[in-house]
């Protein structure tokens, strides 16, 4: 066994030495050619494998880099979207507050700004809760307005909050008139969340697109606060009164800030509202 091993070693070393000697004595060409003939396909295969492996490795490395980059960009995108959302939200809030402040400044009324902190939006009751209450000397039936128009009235005052009955509440009634024709009537809320204007029937009293404002009768609301725009006229009834469906000028479902009219309410304020043209 040992002799066999040594024989194998000797044979291998001898072959190597012969190979080397043959090459260095200038007779390398046939041997080299023979070896090249055998090894060339192997070399080609190795090179192919090398290239494929390298290509796969490079592809994998690229993919991994792209994967990491993708993750990074996704995180960054998410962060930027959140930031953009915050900025947009802040800008919108800023815009709303500016409009509110502007209205408060130019309005010849004593007002107190308030923030909506809760909403009751069922069919039975439609109300908003404002962060102003007894501590701010808010009283029951205080008029609540926004830069777009009338919101409603305070129906309940608590220590730090007030509940505002909005125009669309089924129990809400506001004395009003048509801005163009001065036709008087009543604005009433409906259970389905719409507002209707009940008025005495006469020709040409109302047209679609007319703006209805508070009349100021009764001293509850200041005169001239925009309520809504006539969307439909219901003239099928033959009674003394006709009805018109109004589209409230204030988006009551999404309003966030309001003004509570705390002082004198007898002034006509219609000139201080920018009533959008339409209809």
């Amino acid at each position: 066994m040992r002799i066999r091993r040594l024989a194998v070693l000797g044979l291998v070393v001898a072959v190597c030495l012969v190979l080397l000697t043959v090459q260095t004595r200038g007779h390398a060409a046939p041997a080299a050619d023979l070896i090249a003939l055998i090894t060339a396909p192997v070399q080609k295969a190795l090179t192919g494998v090398h290239r494929v492996s390298l290509g796969m490795w490079t592809t994998y490395a690229d993919w991994k880099n792209i994967h990491i980059e993708n993750h990074r960009l996704r995180d960054e995108n998410h962060r930027l979207r959140v930031e953009a959302l915050v900025v947009t939200e802040t800008l919108q809030e800023n815009g709303r507050l500016r409009r509110l402040l502007d209205l408060r400044t130019r309005m010849p009324l004593d007002t107190l700004p308030g923030e909506i902190i809760a909403r009751e939006w069922g069919g039975w009751v439609r109300s908003l809760t404002v962060n102003r209450g007894r501590a701010d000397e808010i009283r029951r039936l205080t008029a609540v307005i926004s830069p777009d128009g009338l919101v409603g009235r305070v129906v309940e005052v608590r220590p730090g909050t007030s509940v505002v009955q909005v125009l669309t509440d089924p129990a809400s009634t506001v004395g009003a008139h048509v801005l163009r024709t001065r036709t008087p009537g009543l604005v009433e809320g409906e259970p389905r969340g719409t507002v209707r204007f009940k008025y005495m029937a006469r020709d040409g009293a109302l047209a679609v697109g007319d703006v209805v404002v508070t009349s100021g009768q009764g001293g509850l609301f200041p005169r001239g606060v925009p309520i809504g725009r006539v969307r439909n006229l219901d003239q099928k009834t033959t009674g003394l009164f006709h009805h018109a469906i109004l589209e409230p000028l204030v988006d009551l479902a999404s309003i966030d800030e309001v003004l509570l009219v705390t002082g004198n309410r007898s002034t006509d304020v219609s000139a201080h509202f920018a009533i959008p043209s339409g209809g």
Binding site: V12, V15, L17, L20, Q23, V49, H50
Partner: protein
């Protein structure tokens, strides 16, 4: 035996041609065929180590474009030596593996230099040892130890299963 020999030759050669350039550290490339020959010689004995080393070295010589037979001879010698000594070494210990492979690689480098010197190889010994043989020997030592560790771990897992 033939299958393993072919695997030694081609596996080592392919690894040297494909993985080794990717494993280059500070321009030092490990000698993967030598590591494979050592591992096979430890398991299969001197005869197998000798033939495997010859085949792997010959392929490296052919691929590298140098004198045919130099690496075939040195790797055959190393395969035979480690195959013969394997039973007496505590090769599962990293403290034996790393210095063992370093010494073996140094021995192979030295043998290659001496063999080439017979055929008037011009490179100075000092530079060759400092910049080529020693760094590669160190690299081989650590890479070989990692191979052995991976093999031992795989066998242990297989044994558990």
């Amino acid at each position: 035996m033939r299958g393993l020999l072919a695997l030694t030759v081609f596996g080592g050669g392919i690894a040297q041609a494909t993985i080794a350039p990717a494993l280059r550290v500070a321009d030092v490339v490990p000698d993967i065929p030598l590591i494979v020959v050592v591992l096979l010689a430890l398991r299969r004995g001197p005869e197998f180590g000798c033939l495997g080393g010859f085949a792997a070295g010959l392929l490296q010589d052919a691929v590298g474009g140098g004198l045919l037979g130099v690496q075939a001879c040195t790797k055959a010698l190393m395969g035979f030596t480690i195959g013969a000594l394997g039973g007496r070494l505590w090769v599962t210990q990293p403290l034996v593996q790393v210095p063992g492979l370093v010494l073996l690689s140094l021995g192979e480098g030295l043998a290659r230099f001496l063999l080439l010197k017979i055929f008037h190889f011009p490179a100075p010994f000092g530079q060759l040892m400092t910049y080529v043989v020693l760094p590669q020997a160190l690299y081989n030592g650590f890479l070989g130890a990692a191979f052995v560790f991976a093999l031992t771990w795989t066998q242990a897992r297989r044994g558990e299963a």
